[in-house]
Amino acid sequence: MIRPVLQLPDHVLATPCESVGELDERALAVAQDLLDTMRGADHSVGVAAPQIGISLRICVVDITGHRKARSCHGEVVLIDPAVVEASGPEVGREGCMSVPDLTGDVARFTAMHVRALGLDGELHDYEVDAFEARAFQHELDHLDGLLFLDRVVADDRVFRRRVYR
């Protein structure tokens, strides 16, 4: 089911999420709602559970077709994700569906190894880079109760979001 995406100042966005642990019906339902919400939202490349009001460590990413993509794993469900290895910070400008009107410059790792449970209950390893690495980090931050506003490289690197074309 497509869920409304919560926006600032909703407190759940700033709250670290609980681990899922055992994959149960509820976790699977949350994952499905996240997929539905990502597919339903225009241009969305990822949604994390706190954005739909659920404080569980689940997020989904799909950067298929993005012009800055190198690695691309298609539609990915990450349950209890953990960063195994990461390297190479690079600054890029991000916005977030939960932070309307603003964008900010954020340094992110350019390459990462992430391990997470999938919908099948198995551990999966993802080697991601470039834009997919940025999207993973943005969504993983949501699970820790962090927004891009907590990561901007300097206080004067936050901007009003522009209207395009």
Binding site: G95, M97, R134, R160, R162, Y164
Partner: protein, 181 residues
């Protein structure tokens, strides 16, 4: 939509601890609510620019008088003006960023800004810094602009490069769009 009264507050003075607390304290006591603000240290002076929502009963003149009385003695120059016009729409067009650096000389900002204006570009953010001890100090200019869709970014880039050669500085123009994640 009813127009909520707003004022623009500017304050400038030699930097020291407590300026923001003092100025905003006066604004809060007058029922003001800060909206967009920019405050920064400019060459040892602390500069504040604030858009403040104020109660209907408040006037810019009265607020300025209070600020002058309460913080003017601390070396701050303060001005308050009513904002009568409706806020401009968010800039449309494509976002670009310009970075420039090189030996300082008079006229760099003006020449760059004039070139941008000639192309119909709207500067949405600009900051400059003087770096290093004089007399051979360097100058850094960073700005963000919105270019009308009818303007040609590549053409602007070529003309800025020619201007940079003339000014003896380095200049770069790059697309500056954000990814919504």
């Amino acid at each position: 939509m009813t127009l909520v009264p707003h004022v623009a507050v500017t304050a400038l003075g030699a930097d020291r601890p407590g300026i923001v607390a003092a100025v905003t304290g006066v604004l809060v006591r007058h029922g003001g609510n800060l909206e967009d603000t920019a405050m920064t240290n400019l060459g040892g002076h602390f500069a504040m620019m604030l858009v403040v929502e104020v109660p209907d009963s408040e006037t810019a003149e009265a607020l300025e008088a209070s600020l002058v009385e309460e913080v003017g003695g601390q070396g701050l120059t303060v001005a308050v003006r009513p904002i009568v016009e409706a806020p401009a729409d968010a800039p449309t067009g494509t976002p670009w960023a310009v970075s420039l650096y090189g030996a300082d000389r008079p006229g760099i900002v003006h020449r760059v800004a004039q070139k941008l204006a000639d192309h119909g570009a709207n500067i949405v953010d600009l900051s400059t810094r003087v770096i290093g001890p004089g007399p051979e100090h360097a100058y850094v200019l960073l700005l963000e602009l919105s270019l009308p869709v009818t303007s040609d970014g590549d053409r602007l880039g070529i003309e800025l490069t020619a201007l940079a050669d003339e000014l003896g500085v380095e200049i770069h123009l790059r697309p500056d769009d954000a990814d919504v994640l």
